[in-house]
């Protein structure tokens, strides 16, 4: 499994239940729950509220399971990076075998429960997502190609499709549009972070784009992906998915996103090592502030896009196309 010998201490202190919760990456889980719920609501299909809640719970548990499998497999490189060395397995609070067991059991539980309680299309998509993140991304792409987070981003992009499938039993074009938005958001988001944490990735032997292609190429690619991503965010307003509020948020936020990406392109982010305070993602030296700003805003922008769709869906707001005479 490992390409290097990790300095992982044997479990020495008693694990608390919070350590096992940490294996599930609760912050990632909350984002997945949010996008999955947006897909479920936007499907605009009748589903019993309890079954809708079960679908979201299964998506959350599935995401947590794949995170536990990721932490088991990546314990060796996690131990080498400042951002991840406090995780339960590299810190020695939880044994790798426990993380593996937890990941496998929760994967099976979430997929089977989704299938029995909701439908098997959603269960199949959930199983594929877990497999893609734990096996295709964690075990293969992450350590072998600079395109790791580009291709691996599919796993993080699928939850709205799973939510949609859970509610409607099908996955129309609009569901895949939500998936495409998250997929295209991933490269500028992660590469902005990688620009000022590349020292860590280099130390761990992870071929992130700034390590392999250099910071200048990464800044250029961030800008190119931003040019593709921001217009894509406008599309749901013209496919009957988003309303006027969505169009406004996507347009204004997209403009800010492009400005920040342009600043990253013109900056020196990633050109020199960044002596950050351990574990903090937002404390950076002056040269990396543009990358830090894009990283932070990318989270806000994606959250706003999906929150607007979610609220419009809950309120039953008309889509933007329905407001244009003769366009619907």
């Amino acid at each position: 499994m490992a390409t290097m010998t990790p300095a992982i201490p044997a479990t020495a202190q008693p694990a608390r239940w919070q350590d096992y919760m940490q294996l599930l990456k609760p912050r990632v889980m909350s984002l997945v729950v949010f996008t999955g719920a947006t897909g479920l609501i936007c499907a605009d299909a009748p589903i019993h509220p309890l079954l809708g809640a079960v679908a979201i719970l299964c998506i959350a548990i599935g995401a947590g399971a794949s995170a536990a499998l990721n932490m088991w497999y990546d314990a060796d490189i996690d131990a080498l990076m400042r951002r991840t060395r406090g995780r339960p397995v590299p810190a020695g609070r939880v044994q790798g075998a426990e993380a593996l067991s937890m990941g496998v059991v929760l994967s099976l539980l979430s997929v089977m429960f989704m299938g029995v309680a909701v439908n098997w299309l959603a269960a199949g998509l959930l199983a594929f997502t877990i497999f893609f993140y734990a096996v295709v991304y964690s075990m293969w792409l992450k350590r072998s190609t600079a395109q790791n987070i580009v291709i691996g981003g599919l796993a993080g992009a699928l939850p709205p499709v799973i939510g949609w499938a859970a509610a409607a039993g099908e996955t129309p074009l609009n569901a895949w549009l939500l998936c495409a938005i998250i997929f295209m958001w991933t490269p500028p988001h992660f590469w902005a972070l990688a620009l000022y944490t590349s020292e860590d990735y280099e130390k761990a032997g992870v071929p992130m784009m700034p390590v392999v292609a250099g910071p200048a190429s990464t800044r250029r690619q961030i800008f190119i992906y931003s040019l593709l991503f921001t217009p894509l965010c406008l599309v749901p307003a013209f496919t009957g998915l988003g309303g006027t509020a969505y169009l406004a948020v996507a347009g204004l936020g997209g403009a800010v996103f492009l400005i920040l990406a342009w600043r990253v392109l013109r900056s020196a982010a990633g050109d020199s090592a960044d002596p950050r305070v351990d574990g903090r993602l937002y404390d950076v030296r002056a040269g990396a502030k543009d990358a830090r700003n894009l990283f932070a805003f990318s989270i806000l922008y994606l959250s706003l896009l999906f929150a607007t769709l979610l609220i419009e869906g809950l309120l039953g707001a008309p889509s933007f196309m329905n407001l244009i005479p003769g366009a619907a």
Binding site: A12, P14, W17
Partner: protein, 64 residues
């Protein structure tokens, strides 16, 4: 969940591998047991409720 967390084990009796004082082993184990129990009970209740939702209508519609 782990033998290494057993307060009776020699490793933990000596305070672990030089990690310094950590959380009380018994307290940590109790916390894990409570969390596991709550999870199992919650899961059982959820399975019951889902069964009622999925099959309840069939029971009400059965011929008498």
């Amino acid at each position: 969940m782990s033998d290494a967390n057993d307060p009776q084990s020699p490793q933990n009796a000596t305070g672990g591998a030089g990690q310094g004082p950590g959380p009380d082993p018994m307290k940590a184990k109790r916390g894990r047991n409570i969390a596991l129990a709550l999870g199992l009970v919650g899961f059982a209740v959820l399975v019951f409720l889902v069964t009622v939702v999925r099959l309840g209508a069939n029971i009400l519609d059965r011929p008498l």
